[in-house]
Symmetry: C2
Subunit: 236 residues, 2 copies
């Protein structure tokens, strides 16, 4: 069988603090020799690489952009360097590649083609919020965004509530930051008052704030989360 | 309000490789000044602390053990140092504290008592396997162990299959390492042949091996996972 390169999955920081708080030295060292990257945004990916000490001239580096503008038929070509026995890395805009971002399309192709895929360690706001919530970490689900339409949002929220009780499963979700406050108020209005909600804001950054309260208690204390990166968690 | 200490959640390594591949320098630096720890096993926690450069005499360090032998009524006392305005840390035996381990009981108490909880970055075999699977990372669930009884195991497996298709949700689970091979064969025998399974073995270690195939393909290729740390993932 022909020798292929390795596809590394390189995490990004999730806050403005120093990268040394979230990216292990050994992970940085594995990233530095790579010359072929798949990224969501070239400009911010370059800035991240410079921050962690990647000093190679960017003229000697190949970047492919994978985001909502990428045509599906272009994606298979991204893997050419791997087939030429060169290593590549996927970098996320924030946190872990392929978790709550589209990188998994490339990984699925790599797996189909028997290319070695190596995930590297980095920060996950989803799991860090789960750790700090006090909620069940032996059974949990991340469901992305709730529907925008209020009727559908209510239906989704009620389904999450059911799973908390019937499956003993922590439910984790996110919202576009400018809609955070509205979602917070929607949940407080429509959830059972004995359900617990954890609000995890600006994880790993200087404004980090993580609080768990019952819906009844949240009714009396507002959370200041508008336009901040926030994770919502529900449990009993 | 009385000033309290901070409860840090300190990840552990998940493989025998150097800790520099999985614990950021900045996380290590936050752990070194701490003198009060909640751990699953004192002996292995001490060994881990020495490995990352914790040089303080252990006679000056307080350890509480939190595991299946801990009496529930003893747990509230673990938080005394925090109330005396001293920082504490929970250390897991492997990976992230409070994810697939009992640390969340202490965090829930800390949240109730308005103690600041700070999650630190480290390796998660659950999310690293998800990243490398190529499966949906925008909607996923970790459900812990499947039931041991074969009838109940089959029922659980069929429920996971349904969620893959009806909720578009990746399903992640684990097994006691000495039962891995049996579970692999059970899944291959009972799942639809078009379902995809990712087997992620010894993540972050020298024997790391992560493969995604359809159940139909797994029928033709066995996975050598008996007694290895393994994560199982199912998706369409």
């Amino acid at each position: 069988m022909k020798q292929t390169g390795t596809l590394y999955l390189l995490p990004n920081t999730i806050s403005d603090g120093g990268w040394q708080n979230s990216i292990p030295d050994g992970v940085r060292d594995q990233a530095l020799p790579i010359r072929h990257f798949i990224v969501e945004n070239i400009r911010t990916a370059r800035r991240y690489l410079r921050k962690i000490g990647f000093n190679t001239d960017f003229n000697e580096v190949q970047f492919f952009e994978l985001n909502k503008h990428t045509l599906e038929q272009d994606i298979p070509q991204f893997l050419q360097a791997l087939k030429a026995n060169l290593d590549m890395a996927i970098i996320s805009e924030s946190g872990l590649p392929c978790v709550a971002d589209p990188g998994n399309i490339v990984v699925a192709l790599a797996q189909q083609q028997n290319i070695r895929v190596v995930p590297l360690v980095g920060p996950s706001s989803i799991l860090m919020s789960l750790m700090a919530s006090g909620f069940n970490g032996q059974n949990f689900a991340f469901v992305g965004y709730l529907p925008i339409d209020n009727g559908q949002k209510l239906k989704a929220l009620k389904q999450l509530e059911r799973k908390i009780f019937s499956e003993n499963q922590t439910q984790i979700f996110i919202e576009a930051p400018y809609r955070n406050q509205k979602l917070f108020e929607f949940i407080v209005q429509h959830s059972q008052s004995n359900v617990k909600m954890c609000i995890a804001k600006e994880i790993n950054g200087p404004k980090e704030w993580i609080k768990t309260k019952t819906i009844g208690e949240w009714k009396k204390q507002k959370a200041d989360i508008q336009k901040y990166n926030t994770i919502f968690l529900l449990y009993k």
